[in-house]
Subunit: 167 residues, 2 copies
DNA sequence: GACCGTCGTAACATTAGTTGTTACGACGCG
DNA sequence: CGCGTCGTAACAACTAATGTTACGACGGTC
C-alpha cells in the first residue's frame, strides 16, 4: 500500500475522534455487543428480517469486521443467528427480555476481573505463600456480586433506556 | 422506574465515563499493592521500622522499581509513607484495619470498569444516540456495587486470610 | 450455472497500557 | 564524605483491543 494512501486512511480515522475525545485503551466489547443487539432488535421490530454487519457498524461507527467478530461470539453463546448468501445478515436467536448483560458479558469477555501476580511470589515468604489463595477467595466473592448485578439487567432494559434518552 | 434516571443522577458525581480508560484484566496492580501493604505491616509487627522496595520486590517476585511506583501511588493516597537517606524505606501511614481494598483500588486504578465506544456512535441513529447515556447509567450502578464490595474488605482482613492459608 | 452480496476468518497494523529493566540524581543519616 | 535507598526518567518487551484489507465460502436470484 502506498504511503499516500496510508496517510489518507490515517487522517480519516483521526477525524472520527473529534469532540475532544482522546484514544481509549479500554475494553468496549460489552458496550459494542449491547449496541449491536439493541440495533438488531429495533431493526427487526421495524419489519426487517436481518441486519447486516455493515449497517450495525455504521451505527456504532466502527468496522464491519469488528461487528462480525463480536456477533460471532454472541452466536456461539446462542444469542444471535446468522444467514449467509444473498440477503444474508444477523437476527436475534432469543427475545431481548431473556438476554441479560451477564449473558453478553460471558459471551464476549474472558478471564477474571482482577489478575494475580504475573510470576509466582516467593513461596518461602509467609505473605508470598498465602497472598494468592487469599486474594483469589476475596476476588471470587466480589466477582460473584458483579455477575449478579449484570444478570439483573436485561437487554430489553437496555433498549428501553436507549429509547428513553431525550433528544 | 427507569434505571436511566436513577443512574444519570449518580453519574454526575462520577466523572470519566465516555472517555475514560476501562479495565484491563491482565492488570495485577491491585494484587501487588495489597501484597506490599501486607508485607510492610507484617514486617513492622516483627519490630522493624521500615521496609525497602527491594525486600518487598523479592517477596512479590518482581522488580523494586515496580514496587516503588505502586507505593508512590499509595503514598499520594495517604496510605503509606517513605523515608529517604540511609535507613530509608516504607512504612504504613494508617492502620491496616482502616485501609479498605477500595482505598487501594482508587489509589492504583483509574477509569471506569467498562468503556464506551472509542468513537462517537452515529448520532443520527436512535440507538447510536441513546446507547452511551443508557450504558453509562447502567455501568455506573454496577460500579457502585463493586465499590461497595471492595469497601467491605479491609487490609487487615486480607492479612488475616493470608496468614490463615495452611502450609 | 453464473452472478452477487454478505458472512467467516486470516493476517497484519495501530494504539495504548502494564510490566520489567537500567540508569542516575536526590536525599539524609552516620 | 560515603553510602544505601528513594524518585523518576527512559526505554524495551509483552499483551490486548481495535481497525483494516483481503479473499474464500455460501446461498439466494437471474
Amino acid at each position: 500500500m502506498s504511503q499516500l494512501l496510508l496517510l489518507r486512511l490515517r487522517s480519516r480515522n483521526m477525524a472520527g475522534y473529534g469532540r475532544g475525545e482522546g484514544f481509549v485503551s479500554a475494553n468496549s466489547r460489552l458496550t459494542i455487543a449491547a449496541h449491536a443487539l439493541a440495533w438488531i432488535s429495533l431493526y427487526q421490530r421495524q419489519g426487517h428480517e436481518v441486519a447486516t454487519s455493515e449497517q450495525i457498524a455504521a451505527s456504532a461507527n466502527t468496522n464491519p469486521v469488528v461487528i462480525r467478530r463480536l456477533l460471532g461470539e454472541l452466536r456461539k453463546a446462542g444469542l444471535v443467528e446468522s444467514r449467509r448468501g444473498v440477503g444474508a445478515g444477523w437476527s436475534l436467536a432469543r427475545e431481548l427480555e431473556s438476554i441479560t448483560l451477564l449473558d453478553v458479558y460471558d459471551a464476549v469477555e474472558s478471564g477474571p476481573l482482577f489478575a494475580m501476580h504475573r510470576t509466582t511470589p516467593d513461596q518461602g515468604c509467609v505473605v508470598g505463600y498465602g497472598i494468592r489463595p487469599a486474594m483469589q477467595g476475596i476476588y471470587g466473592g466480589i466477582e460473584e456480586t458483579l455477575r449478579a448485578e449484570l444478570a439483573r439487567v436485561t437487554m430489553e432494559d437496555v433498549l428501553r433506556d436507549v429509547l428513553a434518552v431525550p433528544r
